[in-house]
């Protein structure tokens, strides 16, 4: 194994990942804190109330950022799953394993925040005939299925492969979620066209705040997933000399 593929396998080395993320984490956490603070302060204090929704538009900054980011979990798990199936790289499966519960948190918050907003703006907490709502709920169930599949299958390698397959298939639902509002337009509004005009309903005050929040939420996803993956590395690689040294040095 030389030349072209070396970087790929080095990338898959738990030790390489652990050492790199030790150096990246402070920067990622710093950036996350900065974007989160700016996003939340902007959304809560500076965002002008919407001409129809009033102050509930502050909910949408969080809802849109978390909902959009929640759609990246199945593609992420599918890519990691493919790497697991084809190259048997352990690190990919460690990432996939911890992506599933985090994705469930994202999806739950999407549903909850949307519901709390809808309860006053739509006059209903839930609508079974709305394709966006139902396909998002389905994503939550799919993620819970991936999580229980992992615990249900005793052989770790078989479990990893089964989860990888389900993650790849689960990507179909992401496409359905994305286009549900265009294909079957019932209650949930389609994505709003962005306007450059200050003071218009979809003006920069709203979408730049949302953009800041999206970056914040993606950074948070990265930080949380990296922390969980590092834990998994310490546990699974506990026979390696470098992990022994790391454990010995910890207080």
């Amino acid at each position: 194994m030389s030349g072209r593929w070396q970087w790929f396998h080095r990338l898959g080395s738990p030790k390489w990942f652990y050492e790199k993320t030790t150096r990246w984490l402070p920067w990622l956490v710093g950036a996350m804190a900065l974007f989160l603070t700016v996003g939340v302060v902007w959304a809560l204090l500076f965002l002008p109330p919407d001409y129809q929704q009033g102050h509930t538009s502050r909910i949408l900054v969080v809802h849109v950022a978390v909902a959009g980011t929640s759609l990246s979990f199945f593609p992420l798990m599918a890519v990691a799953g493919t790497v697991t199936l084809v190259w048997r790289i352990k690190l990919a499966d460690m990432v996939a394993k911890h992506a599933a519960p985090l994705g469930a948190w994202f999806t739950f918050l999407t549903l909850a925040s949307g519901s709390i907003w809808g309860s006053v703006m739509w006059g209903t907490w839930w609508e079974w005939t709305d394709s966006r709502l139902v396909s998002m709920l389905f994503q939550l169930f799919l993620l819970l299925a991936v999580i229980s599949l992992r615990t249900a299958i005793e052989n770790a390698e078989t479990a990893a492969r089964a989860c990888a397959l389900l993650s790849i298939v689960g990507c179909i639902n992401v496409v359905i979620i994305k286009y549900s509002v265009d294909w079957w337009n019932t209650l949930h509004q389609p994505s709003s066209p962005i306007s450059m005009e200050v003071g218009s309903p979809n003006g920069p005050e709203f979408w730049v705040a949302t953009l800041v929040m999206i970056v914040a939420v993606y950074l948070f996803l990265a930080v949380s997933l990296i922390l969980a993956t590092r834990n998994e590395i310490i546990e699974r690689e506990n026979k390696a000399q470098w992990v022994r040294e790391l454990v010995a040095q910890a207080n």
Binding site: I59, I116, S224, L227
Partner: protein
Amino acid sequence: MIDGIQFNSLGEFLAMGGYAFNVWSVYALFAIFLIANLALPLRKRRLILREQKRRLAALDGREESVRDLADSAGWEVSMTGDEK
């Protein structure tokens, strides 16, 4: 008041134009979501390190007694972890 802030008083800010429950419950859930998914892995890290440390100590103890035994018998032993 800082220019651009949409509220004239703290009371008005808390009231959120009548949508206090909706706005604040979503932001509370958001805060729980953020804190939980950072605090839980950090807590788990402490637990894992403590457990692994205990495991290593137990292992060291075992290796030492094997070494003593081997020494007294005059054998050469090498164990995992010795090579690097």
